[in-house]
């Protein structure tokens, strides 16, 4: 990436404002996800409302950032690293917005679980573990974007398979529970939904990191096995 300044300082301002907005949006999504997991563990379903409200802000930011990208393309005809930054950002915000949606899904499942009773304690640990791993991915993908750090982005991409494996193991456990005791099915289905949402959040963090690699190095590492050189 290029750190030197444009001849047009206004262009520099436009780009740095855009990056700030993306990080703001990322910060909101990160809060949404951790609040949703917090609610799952504590049963504080009052925070569900906040998570849903935050999602509205996230959606607004997505639209505003896309609009800014369109304006920059129209006014500045960005090339090279500038072009990659704009293209990357416009995809990153899509993934952030979807990660926010997943957090909202988690929050709603949590509300259904606690409205119907309470959480059997044996489910807590696996989900916490999965959620921690996904949250680290989200945080690191945003850090990688902020610092334009392709190495960190690559490590997020590698981390995704561990989260996928963790999800599968939770899924198998829940199937066993449901078969052993059909009374747990309602709750178990909600927990599968939650685990699935967390796994998807990890996927979005991975996609964001792939865009960071593209922005920094100009390589498209999507849908490839050999992500790391």
């Amino acid at each position: 990436m290029n750190d030197s300044q444009h001849l047009s300082s206004q262009f520099d301002d436009d780009l740095s404002r855009l990056r700030t907005h993306v990080l703001q949006m990322g910060g909101l999504v990160e809060t949404q996800v951790s609040a949703a997991i917090e609610a799952y563990e504590t049963g504080e379903i009052a925070s569900v409302k906040t998570i849903v409200e935050t999602d509205r802000k996230v959606n607004e930011l997505e639209k505003a950032i896309d609009d800014d990208c369109a304006h920059i393309i129209a006014k500045r005809q960005p090339t090279a690293s500038d072009l990659r930054l704009i293209l990357g950002i416009s995809k990153i915000v899509t993934d952030l917005e979807r990660a926010g949606d997943e957090a909202k899904k988690i929050a709603k499942s949590v509300r259904r679980i606690y409205e119907n009773g309470h959480l059997p304690s044996q489910y807590g640990v696996g989900i916490r573990h999965l959620a921690d791993a996904a949250l680290v991915m989200v945080r690191q993908s945003l850090d990688a974007f902020a610092r334009l750090d392709a190495e960190l982005a690559n490590s997020v991409i590698r981390a995704d398979s561990a989260v996928d494996a963790e999800f599968k193991s939770i899924f198998r456990q829940l199937i066993t529970h449901m078969m052993e005791d059909p009374r747990t099915i309602t709750t178990s289905i909600e927990i599968v939904t939650i685990a699935r949402a967390i796994e998807r959040i990890g996927d979005h963090a991975k996609n964001i990191s792939e865009q960071v690699v593209f922005i920094v190095e100009g390589r498209d590492v999507r849908h490839t096995k050999e992500k790391v050189q």
Partner: protein, 259 residues
């Protein structure tokens, strides 16, 4: 670079140096010009891109004290365009040029296009008619001027004049066309027409174009060379240069940063 899709060479600069008297304007340029492709030369003012372009048709011979070193090989015959025994007039028959400002002769539309053919000794009315029509069609201006061929060329609009100049360059069936900022004096519509025309022309002729308009280089060219202070810093496929240039200085220039 991949070898598999490298097209044939039309010309190639080899260790080309150029001096305006004592001042060295081109420094050891090595660059391929691919056959029936558009190659754009970009770079800040004074980087030598026009000097380089003009070396191809020996325009610098017109001024005393100018000096070339090295070669520009022209294919398929592998002639060194800069060799002392090569006649510049012959060179200019094979290499046409279009300038920044349209410069039609103060003659009729017809005579502007027929001029090069007449210089060559062609006087047969039917041959001239045919070739003039063919050239005007090639320059996408025939429909606009076919009923007014005897009119004075300077009465045409700027964009039409420029296309007429392209027709004039095409009339002698050149193998290489040199464009020196061909649209900088034109409005966006006329510019669009010229760019469209360049796209058509490359089916039969190789094109080398100097442009200050980065987006134009990105739109019309297959290859781009970035020049700076008389040196060629980067040459590559246009698609690659505008997405991921290799040289930081190219990047700074095309993204509009101070360099």
């Amino acid at each position: 670079m991949q070898i598999h899709d490298t097209p044939a060479l039309k010309a190639e600069a080899r260790n080309l140096n150029f001096y305006y008297g004592e001042a060295q304007a081109l420094k050891n340029i090595n660059m391929p010009i691919y056959d029936k492709k558009v190659t754009a030369l970009i770079g800040p003012s004074g980087c030598g891109k026009s000097t380089y372009l003009r070396s191809f048709n020996r325009m610098h011979d017109l001024y005393p004290g100018n000096r070339y070193e090295g070669e520009i090989r022209f294919f398929p015959d592998n002639t060194n365009l800069l060799a002392a025994d090569v006649d510049p007039i012959e060179v200019r028959m094979r290499i046409g040029m279009v300038f920044q400002k349209p410069n039609p002769f103060p003659k009729s539309i017809f005579e502007n296009v027929a001029y090069g053919l007449r210089v060559r000794g062609e006087n047969n009315k039917r041959v001239l008619d045919d070739k003039v029509e063919h050239a005007l069609k090639g320059a996408a201006i025939w429909e606009e001027v076919k009923d007014r061929l005897p009119e004075q060329a300077p009465n045409l609009s700027g964009g039409q004049q420029q296309r007429l100049c392209i027709a004039r360059a095409l009339a002698t069936d050149p193998e290489l066309l040199l464009f020196d900022e061909p649209t900088s004096a034109l409005d966006p519509i006329a510019t669009g027409a010229i760019e469209e025309l360049i796209h058509e022309l490359k089916k039969r002729v190789t094109i080398l174009i100097v442009t200050h308009n980065m987006q134009q280089a990105a739109r019309v060219s297959d290859y781009t060379a970035y020049m700076y202070l008389g040196e060629m810093l980067e040459f590559g496929k246009t698609d690659e240069i505008f997405i991921k240039p290799q040289d930081k200085r190219t990047e700074d220039y095309i993204t509009g940063r101070m360099g």
